[in-house]
Symmetry: C2
Subunit: 120 residues, 2 copies
Amino acid sequence: MPSQEQMKVALQAYVDGFAKGDAESVIALFAENAVVEDPVGTPEKRGEEIAEFYRNAVGAGAKLILEGPIRGSHGSSAAMAFTVEMPGMKIFVIDAFTFDDEGKVTSMRAYWGPDDLIQG
Amino acid sequence: MPSQEQMKVALQAYVDGFAKGDAESVIALFAENAVVEDPVGTPEKRGEEIAEFYRNAVGAGAKLILEGPIRGSHGSSAAMAFTVEMPGMKIFVIDAFTFDDEGKVTSMRAYWGPDDLIQG
C-alpha cells in the first residue's frame, strides 16, 4: 500500500504540473493500466487517451486552485477539491484517485456536472 | 437518473441535518440497500449500522463546514469537501455519493486519512 505522504505528494505534483504547464509530469504520475473518468458519467479513458487528455487540458492553460488540504484515506485512495481556471471558464471539481503499491495512479474519477462549469 | 439539482439538495440536507443535530433527517436520505465506507479503506456499513453511525456522529456534536460548492457529475454521482468540527477534533473530509433514480443515496465513501484528523 502506498503511504499517505506518497499519495499526497503525487496529488500536489499533479496540481504543480498544471501550474508549470508541464503535461508530461502529470502523465508520468499514472500507472500503465490506469483509468480516467472525467467527468464521472462519461466514457473511461485509458493509455494514450489519458496522455492526450492531459496534453489538451494543460495546453488550454488550465490551472488548478486547491480548496483545502488534499485528503488521504485508510487505504490506497486520496481525493482533492479544486477550481479549474482556464481562459473564459471555471469548473468546480472534486477528483478521487486510487494508487498502486508503487504510488502510481491507477484511477482518477472527476466529479463535476454541467452546473459546475461557469463561462466567463 | 436523479437530476443534478436533486442530488445537490440532498447533500445540502445532509450538511443541514448535522447543523440541526437531526440524525434522522440524515438517515432518511439513504436508500434501504445503501452502503457507507467511512473512511475509505475500512469495512462497509449497511442498514442499522448506517443509522447507528449517524446517530453517534450527530450525537457527538459533529458539524460539517462546506469547502466550496457541492459538485455533481454527468451521471448519478455527486461529491463535497468539508471540515468536520466536533469538540476537541477537526477532520478534513471529501465525501463521494451515488444515488438511485428516486434521488436516495445508494453509497457514500468518505476520503480522510489518519493525517487528516487534527486533535484540539
